[in-house]
Each structure stands twice: as C-alpha cells, then as structure tokens.
C-alpha cells in the first residue's frame, strides 16, 4: 500500500484535508459564514475515517481487510536537496504509536468542531475560527506523521502559531492578547532549545531523521556529553510544548482562549506533543540514561507541583488547566522510567476525559457566562447532562476502577514502584490524592449546594450539538481503557517500544498488582471524600482553612509565584538591557555619525552657491574621491577610473538638475 500512489495520497490526505479546509475558509470564509462549520466537519470526519484505515493497516487488523498490513507506512519526498551538502525530506512514518495519535487527534478535533458550532455561534470571526482550528488539526497531524526532526519542527511551530491565534481569538480583550503572546514566547524558549538540539544532531550525524540519528548514535558517531546535551535540548522543547516545569507558566493563561480550543489544543493534542516527541524519539532518548532521569524527575515533579497549584483556583478552567500540566507530568515520568506503553496509554485516555472536562466547563460557561466556580452552585439540577458527564470525567481522571483513567494511571504508578523509583512513586501517589481532591472540589462547588448567583439559578442545559459530543466522550472516558487491561493488553501490543529500546532499558513487563491497585484507588477515594467533607456539608470549613493557612494558600493560589519570579529575573533585565542598547545606539553611534552628517551638510551648504544644487555636490564629491583614489592606485589608471565614474556622475547631475 505504501508503494502505491493511491495509498500515499490517501495517507497524505489525512493532514491534507484539514489544510485544504483552512485554505478555503481563510479565503472564502466571509462568504460562507456559519456554513464554515459544515465544510470543516466534513474535512476532519474524512480524515478520521482515513486515520482509522491507517490504524487498521499498520496493526494488520482485521487481517481479511489488510492482507499486506501489519507493517509501518513509510514514504518520503525530497524537500530540499543540496546533493552532498545535505538534503531534507518531507515524509510520512506511521506505526502503531502514530496511528493511535492520528485517530485521537481526528476524533477529538471532530468532537470539538461539532461542539464549536453552537459554542461560537454569533462570533464575529466564526469562519476564521474554524479556519485556524483546521490549520491546527492539519499541523498536528503533520507533526504526528513526521519521520524527521526538520519536518517535526515545522509542524511543531505551526501548532504553536495556531495556538497563539486561537488563544488570542478574542484579541479585543487585552488579557487574551497578552496570554497569546506569553504562550508563544514561553513555548518558543523550548523551541529554540529544540532547534539547537536538532542542529547538534544534524552536524554530528548529517541527518535529521529519527532513525538515522538513533543508528548513528548506536554506531558511536555521536556520544558522550554532546549527545546528552542534544537529547536534553530536544527535551526542553518538549517541556515548553507540554507545559512542564519550569516552562509551565503559559498554559493556565492560555485559558483566555475559547473553551473548545482549550479542549482540543490545551488538553488533548498540542500539549501532548511534547510527550509524543519523547515517545517518537525514544530510541534516541534511551541511549542517554541521564537524559532519561531528567525526563522522569521533571515529569514527576511537574505532576505534583501542578496538582498543588490546582487546589485553590476559583476559575474552573484554570483548575482543569493545572490538572492538564499535572497529568502531562505523569506521562513524562512514565516515559522517563521506561514505562513507554503506559505513558502513551495515559496520553490516549487523558485526551478523552480531559477534553470532556473542558467541554463540560465550556457548557457551564455557555450557560452562565462565568468562569468562577463560586458563582455557580446547584447546577446539578439545572444541567444534568453536563453534571453527569463531568462526574464521569472526574472519576476517570481521579483514577477510580474501572474507568479508563484507572488503567493507565495504575500502570504508571506500578512501574515507578517496580523500577525502584520510590521518590517518584511517593510523588505520584500524593498526586493521585491531590488530583481526586481538586477535581471533585470543582465539581462539588459548581454542581452541588444551592445556586450562588442569579445566572446559576437561571442556567439551562446546553443544546444537543454540544452535549452530544460530551456524551460520546463520556462513553470513551469509561471504556477507552478497556483496550489496555491486564487481561488483554491490546494497547501495549500496538504501541510498543522498539526492541532496541526495550533491550537498552532492560525492562521486564510488570504484573498487575492488586494491592497497588487497591491502594491507589483508596487514595483517590480519600481525596474525593476530603473534597466532599470540605465543600458539601459545610462549605465555610474550606474558607476557614484557607484563612488559617493564609500564606500557604496565597503561595499556591499565585502558582508558587513563578510569574513574579520570571518577571524579576528575565523580563525586567531584558527590558533594561534593551533600553541601554537603544541609548547606546542613539547617543554613541548615532551621535558620532550625526556629527559627520552635520559637518558634511555644512560643507554642502557652503558649496551650494557654487554648484547650485545638492546632487551636483555629490557628483563633485565622487570626482574628487576618485581622483584621490586614482592617484593612490597609480596615475596611469586614473584617467580611466575618472572616465567611468564621471559618466555615472554626469548622468546623475543631469537628472538632479531637472528637479
């Protein structure tokens, strides 16, 4: 199939169709207006069908349909060819990992676009919104199929650009414009590191393909500290994209964007790209044990840190945003400790239940136009469908048996224990507790008790085009994990690390551990129980607690003061340096030349009566200079030089004197 032109076109259409939709809507969106959504949905639905087809092919299932399947799809064309000077290709590589990602991206994108039709109704830039949503989908799909770093980097930047445009969709609001800018710049810190890492790999190995770099490293062409540095730089890129410590600060602010965007980009797909990058280049990462440790500990620390930040937030979207940061930390940690399939399994499950949480939050926002959960209350009766789908998503996120989140989270926790990363294990277990607490705090505050505002009293359930996708996602939040249970772990078969990676890490598969499962579920239930105790029977208890531990509360609520810290150590010094350089530019360099300019101008003024016009002065200037030069170089050539320049000068004078 990968050899036939038809098959290749079919695969290329997966990112190609949304790209085409983008082009159509960007150019003609103003004419189709609300019709934009139908064009968009048709495009992404077709991509979803093709993605499922690709998944079937690479897994060879069902065998009757794909007799030649079971192998990765792999083809490429030359993009830039400099012969011996190097060449860069645009290609497609789809194995089980990429195929699963394709399906996830297309599916969540389809759900979000259906939902957006109602959510964004009446928006002044409705068609543009759908255009960018599709450019994003196309870029994300391109990122997934990329077989080399340059192609990855191209789509990596494009998803960042789309994220910027969508966060800033309501750019009349200064806070949205600021959040968009912050997101772009903070992730670009990571991108710059990624780029340097790519260059280092290229200059050491002469290739940018993942496979080529991995093989060159195995053969010893690149090694030691240079190799580790390059791997860590690539990982910094992943840190930026996946909002890991210390570059996590952009994601909470990104909630200024429309909520469906948060569901697609800042929960299910783009922020998972960092995790995907580490998984995609796993054969490179495993060759540097120290880089793997960095991955594991950054992930574990981020999971815990972000969970604490989510504890006190009043903005329901920010709670979910910190939750995303925290869950991405889990996935990173899993990859770092060698639990490859578990990490990607969590990415896959998380995409559904986290997108659902955002769509649920969006449903509330649509109903009552507030992000503050303490404006809500009692919505359980007013919005039952939203309530129940959010509870399902919350239970799944908390990791309660047998919902999808349980299976993947449990696999990660067990791996941390079995691989003797006891510190990480402790952090992960504590995070389980905090996660269950903060998500049920949000659900209890929003849906239980009595309505706190007029808007909450009058809220009505969202229309079917919004709740429909939520119900579909809720079903997945329950059952998506069933493909990876210990009884039949299909997922780990489809998304498996290479033999090389398994061999290098020397990891044995871990048995399902009933004790561990019971412990982690008990811890999660304890978190839910505490949230109930604090926020349902006597809500004033929580407020009293917050007052009592006011410094800690403020520390958490301000996100550990990271924004203030970065302002002090990066933003302000950079501004100061900019001012100094500008003064230098104006005073020192500019002043010097201004003097020359004034002097010459004065000379020009004096010559003016003689020559009668500006242009002539310079013609004279040329002649004199050339004369001087001619004398220096050799008198015998002077006549020639003069003749040449004089021709030019006379022409100039002729034109100048006419004006």
């Amino acid at each position: 199939m990968t050899n036939s032109v038809f098959g290749q076109l079919l695969i290329a259409a997966i990112p190609g169709l949304p790209a085409l939709v983008f082009l159509l809507l960007a150019l003609f969106g103003r004419y189709v207006k609300e019709g934009a959504q139908f064009v968009a949905i048709f495009g992404v639905a077709t991509s979803l069908v093709f993605s499922v087809f690709a998944l079937g092919f690479v897994t060879g299932f069902p065998a009757s349909l794909f007799p030649t399947g079971g192998v990765p799809i792999d083809f490429a064309v030359n993009w830039i060819n400099l012969g011996e000077g190097g060449s860069f290709q645009m290609g497609v590589y789809i194995d089980g990992l990429a195929a699963v990602m394709l399906v996830v991206v297309c599916f969540v994108s389809l759900m979000v676009q259906l939902y957006s039709g109602a959510f964004m109704e009446g928006d002044s830039r409705f068609a543009w919104y759908f255009a960018i949503l599709n450019l994003f989908t196309a870029s994300m799909l391109g990122l997934v199929v990329a077989p080399n770093f340059i192609e990855l980097y191209i789509f990596w930047e494009l998803v960042g650009l789309c994220s910027y445009l969508l966060i800033g969709h309501w750019f009349e609001k200064p806070s949205a414009a600021r959040a968009a800018q912050k997101a772009f710049i903070v992730t670009r810190v990571g991108d710059a590191a990624l780029f340097i890492g790519i260059i280092m790999f290229w200059s050491a190995t002469g290739t940018t393909s993942y496979e080529g770099i991995s093989e060159a490293a195995q053969a010893g062409f690149v090694g030691g500290s240079l190799f580790t540095a390059a791997v860590v730089l690539v990982f910094i890129g992943a840190i930026g994209k996946s909002a890991q410590f210390p570059l996590h600060v952009w994601l909470p602010d990104a909630m200024e964007g429309p909520t469906p965007v948060s569901a697609l980009i800042h929960a299910a797909t783009m922020v998972a790209a960092g995790v995907y990058l580490v998984a995609r280049t796993y054969d490179i990462f495993v060759q540097s044990p120290s880089a793997m440790l960095v991955v594991a500990y950054i992930g574990g620390f981020t999971a815990l840190m972000a969970a604490t930040m989510a504890l006190t937030k009043k903005d329901i979207k920010r709670v979910i945003a910190y939750s995303t940061v925290s869950q991405l930390g889990y996935m990173m940690m899993a990859l770092g400790i060698g639990a490859y399939s578990a990490g990607i399994f969590h990415l896959y499950n998380h995409a559904f239940f986290k997108a659902l949480l955002f769509l649920g939050a969006g449903s509330i926002i649509y109903a009552m136009n507030s992000y503050n959960m303490f404006d809500m209350g009692g919505l359980r009766r007013r919005m039952p469908l939203t309530f129940w789908t959010m509870v399902i998503a919350g239970v799944s996120l908390a990791g309660i048996f047998p919902l999808s989140g349980f299976w993947s989270k449990d696999a990660i926790v067990v791996s941390a224990f079995a691989e003797h990363y006891y510190v990480l294990f402790g952090m992960a277990l504590l995070t389980v507790f905090l996660t269950a607490f903060y998500i049920f705090r949000a659900i209890f505050v929003a849906f239980m008790g009595e309505p706190r505002t007029e808007a909450a009293r009058e809220a009505v359930e969202s229309p079917g085009i919004m709740t429909g996708p939520m119900v579909l996602l809720a079903i997945l939040a329950v059952v998506s994990g069933l493909v990876g249970t210990p009884l039949a772990d299909y997922f780990a078969e489809v998304v498996a690390p290479s033999e090389f990676a398994t061999g290098t890490l020397a990891i044995e598969p871990h048995e399902f551990n009933v004790t561990m499962a019971v412990v982690s579920v008990a811890v999660a239930l304890a978190g839910i129980g505490l949230a109930y105790a604090l926020y349902v029977p006597k809500p004033e208890r929580a407020a009293a607690l917050a007052r009592r531990f006011s410094p800690i509360y403020k520390f958490l609520d301000n996100g550990w003061y990271f924004d203030k810290l970065y302002d002090r150590i990066f933003v302000r010094p950079a501004m100061f340096f900019g001012r100094v350089v500008r003064q230098f530019d104006r005073r020192a360099l500019g002043g010097l030349v201004m003097g020359v300019g004034r002097g010459a101008s004065g000379a020009g003024e004096r010559l003016r009566p003689l020559q009668g016009g500006g242009a002539q002065n310079y013609a004279l200037f040329i002649l004199v200079s050339v004369l001087v030069l001619g004398v220096i170089v050799g008198a015998q050539y002077a006549f020639l030089t003069i003749a040449l320049i004089a021709t030019v000068a006379i022409a100039a004078v002729a034109v100048g004197s006419r004006l």
């Binding site: 191209i154 414009a177 260059i199």
Partner: protein, 486 residues
C-alpha cells in the same frame, strides 16, 4: 543579449518618463507600471527557460572595453545573482504600484527609480569587477535623490548621511577591486579571477580588508548601521521597498560573488568575525527593535537583525549555509518590503506611526492587520513562510562551521519572536485607540496589489523552497569549489 536588454530597459523607461511632459498623473502611473513589468516578465522567462542551468554564468554577453587593462562589459546570469535579479525587477514593479504617496514630480520620481533599477539589475548580472562597481554606484545616487527629494521633513540630513557612509564604503571597495584586478594581470573578469588567481595569501588578505569593509558598510553590519535608521524612516514607502529589499543585498551579494570565491585565502581568516558580525546584527537588531516607539523604525531594525543570518550563512563556507544566505537575500527582501508597505498603509489611516497610539487593527482592517501579522511571523522565522527555510539553513550551516555563533543565532530567533509579538500585541490587537482608525477602510485594491504578491511568494517559497534553491545550488557549488580549491 537578453540579459543586457533586461538591464537597460529601465534606462529606456527613464528616458520615456522624462519625455512624457504633458501626461497626466494617471497616464504616467500606468506607463510606469508597463515599463516596470517588462524586466519582470523577461526575468520570469529566463527563470522558466534557463532556471535549471545557471551554474556558471549563462546568457552572457561580453566585449572588451579597455582591453589593455582587461576591463570589459561582461554580463551574465548565474544562480547566485538570479534570485536577486528577479527580486529587483519584482520590487521595482511593486514600488511603482506602492508609489501612491508620491504626488509631486511623479515623472522624475519614476525616472530615477528606473535608473536605480538599472543599477540593481546590473550589479546582479555583472561579471566584471569594474562593471560591478559602476552598477553598484549607479544605485547609490538615485537612492540618494529619491530620499533627499521625496522624503519627509528630515530627508536632507538623512540622505546626506546615507550618501557619505555608503559612498565611503564603495570607494574603499573600489580600491580593493583595483588592487585585485591590477595585481592579477591586469584583469577584471570575475570568471577569470576565480579561486584567487594565483595571488599570495598575504596579498589576498591585504586586498580582502578594504573589500570586506566596503561591503559590510553597505549591508549594513552593526556597528556601521547608523546611517540606516534615518534614511529608512525618512524615505517614501515605495523607496523603502527597494532600499530595504535590494540595497543591503548589494553588500552581501558582493561577499558571496566576489570576496569569497576570488579571495578565498584572504577572506578565510576573517570568517569567524564575519559570523560574529552576523550574530551581532541579529541580537543587537532585536534588542534595539524591542525598544522602538515608531513602527517604521522597528521594522528597520528588524531588517538589520535578519540580515545577520545572511552574514552567518556566508561565513559558514559550506553548502547549507551559503545556500541559506543566498536564499535569505531574497526572502528578506520579500518580507521587509511587505512590512514597509503595510507600515505606510497603516500610517496613512491612523495618521501616526507611534506604536503606543495604534491598536485594534485586526478588527478594523483585517487584511492589513492580518498581513502585518503574516509579515511579522515571516520575520520571526515561523515555518511555512520562506524566511524560515533560509534562516534554518543559514543557522545550521553556521553552526557546523562556528558552533558558538550558530547557537547564538538560534537564540536570536527567540528574541525576534519577542519584539515582533510585542509589536503585534500593541498594533493589531486590543482596542482601537485612534479615533481616525474607527472608520478606517481596509487596504484597497491598489494596496492589495502591492502586498499580496509578496505575501504569496513568502508562502509559496516557504512550502516549495526548491523552486529557488534548485536555481542557486549549482552556482553555490562553483563557489564551494573555489574555496575548496584554495
């Protein structure tokens, strides 16, 4: 022959302009458009018919001028110069379209612009050192006149400063050329002088110094840039198009076409410094741009910054870097011309260029605001747009030769994002601050005609860079052979 014809059609156009004494403004503008279209169509024909065959200079024409000194009229096109040759024709046409802010002495304006075009086309086709210098100088005087006569209220000191600085540079360069030509024969044919022409290393170094200084002033490399700001800010928009799109490339092209292959041993010791100059441009330009309050000044410094990638790529001395540099010459021209025209459009609506007084353009003028964003994204090296391709090639090539400079240049991409996004946030986002902007019309058909081709080329070359790279690649290999053979 076609090369010579293309070069000298603008001269005919200039004479035609001066003869059309009684033509009204409309006729003048359309005639100028017609004239400017001819070199563009001819170079498009050259691209289609000979684009794959521009390794060594093709379509040549030569006859002796001063045979005793080996000076000749030698022109021809190779892959190094073709991109800029094409861009010169394109940007002149766009400058004519974008000359809506010029109303006085229109015929003379176009005539001088065409003389400048003659010089630009000539430089990128010259295959003789003296001819190169003559064309180089032919661009200078028209530019001086365009700014000095049609610029804003500060035009006079700006034009004088520009003239003195760059004239000093070209004179120093000429000294180097004369020494090179005379010591080698005398012979001034670039082809014959390729690969050092048997000069000793010491002689090459001595000759390289004035040539490098002259060319770097032209670029301009920081700290020789202080002429640039005033002249860019003072000049009319249509002059900006050529001034920023083409003129700096006279310097960088001179480095690639003459300094590197003709004096390989002489330039070699200076390459790390050339790379460092590139990095200095990138970082210094970004920081100063960050602090600008005038939108046009910001674009001017942004232009200085992205020129740094060309210097870095040239200094790398490898296929990737030099190809990147040759391509960046074109991509820089596309994006900076786009931004300067948009600044003009925006200033004409808002009545100000002060960044702090603008805002909300994306809502009021979606096309102008959106394309400003596109230009800014191009400038910060966002993939999908052509500047990304040339920048990543320059940086990768630069890193291979000089790792420290390469890493610093990569960080420059981050700085570029900072000041350009900060600019976008204040100019196109947020609420509208200027009352004049509340009722402002978006870019009209004429204005769109000037900016859309540039935006389109940025996208097309961003997705299919081979359209350009395949033309320049064989010629870059010739340069590499000259370096390797030294």
């Amino acid at each position: 022959m076609i090369t010579t014809i293309t070069i000298f059609i603008p001269l005919a156009g200039a004479i035609l302009m001066l003869l059309m004494k009684n033509a009204d403004e409309r006729t003048t503008r359309y005639t100028a458009l017609g004239v400017a279209a001819v070199p563009l169509l001819l170079s498009l024909y050259i691209y289609l018919a000979h684009g794959s065959d521009l390794g060594a200079a093709s379509l040549t024409q030569s006859f002796d001028w001063v045979s005793s000194l080996g000076i000749g009229y030698r022109v021809g096109l190779d892959g190094l110069g073709f991109g800029m040759f094409f861009l010169s024709a394109l940007l002149t046409l766009i400058a004519v379209v974008a000359s809506w802010d010029v109303h006085t002495n229109l015929r003379q304006y176009y005539a001088i612009l065409f003389i400048a075009e003659l010089g630009m086309l000539g430089v990128f086709a010259a295959q003789d050192l003296i001819l190169f210098y003559v064309f180089f100088e032919v661009t200078l005087i028209p530019m001086y006149l365009l700014v000095g006569i049609w610029g804003d209220e500060n035009r006079r000191p700006a034009a004088i400063k520009f003239f003195i600085y760059t004239f000093f540079g070209s004179t120093v360069m000429l000294a180097g050329f004369l020494a090179l030509g005379i010591l080698s024969g005398p012979n001034f044919s670039i082809e014959a002088l390729n690969a050092g022409g048997g000069l000793s290393r010491a002689a090459q170094i001595a000759i390289a110094v004035p040539i490098l200084v002259g060319l770097l002033i032209k670029v301009p490399a920081v700290p020789f840039h202080s002429w640039l700001l005033d002249v860019y800010v003072s000049s009319p928009i249509s002059t900006n198009v050529v001034l920023s799109g083409i003129l700096p490339k006279l310097g960088t092209y001179g480095l690639i076409k003459i300094a590197i292959p003709l004096l390989p041993q002489g330039v070699e010791p200076f390459l790390p410094y050339l790379a460092a100059f590139g990095v200095l441009n990138i970082i210094y330009g970004a920081f100063v741009a960050f602090m600008q309050t005038d939108l046009k000044a910001l674009v001017a410094y942004s232009s200085i910054g992205t020129l740094g990638f060309i210097l870095l790529g040239i200094a790398s001395g490898n296929a990737l870097g030099i190809n990147g540099a040759v391509m960046q010459q074109v991509t820089h021209g596309l994006y900076s011309a786009l931004l300067f025209i948009l600044v003009g459009i925006i200033a004409s609506r808002a009545g100000t260029r002060r960044i702090a007084d603008l805002g909300g353009l994306a809502a009021r003028m979606p096309w102008a605001g959106g394309l400003l964003a596109l230009g800014a994204f191009a400038a910060m090296g966002v993939p999908g747009l052509a500047v990304f391709v040339s920048e990543f090639m320059s940086i990768m090539g630069g890193y291979t030769a000089f790792p420290v400079q390469g890493i610093l240049a990569a960080l420059g991409i981050l700085l570029g994002a900072m000041y350009l996004l900060y600019m976008l946030q204040r100019v196109i986002f947020g609420p509208t601050k200027q009352p004049a902007l509340a009722e402002a019309a978006d870019a009209g058909p004429m204005e769109m005609a000037a900016i859309v081709p540039l935006a389109l080329l940025l996208v097309v070359l961003g997705i299919f860079p081979s359209l350009l790279i395949n033309v320049q690649r064989p010629a870059v290999e010739v340069v590499l052979a000259a370096i390797g053979g030294s």
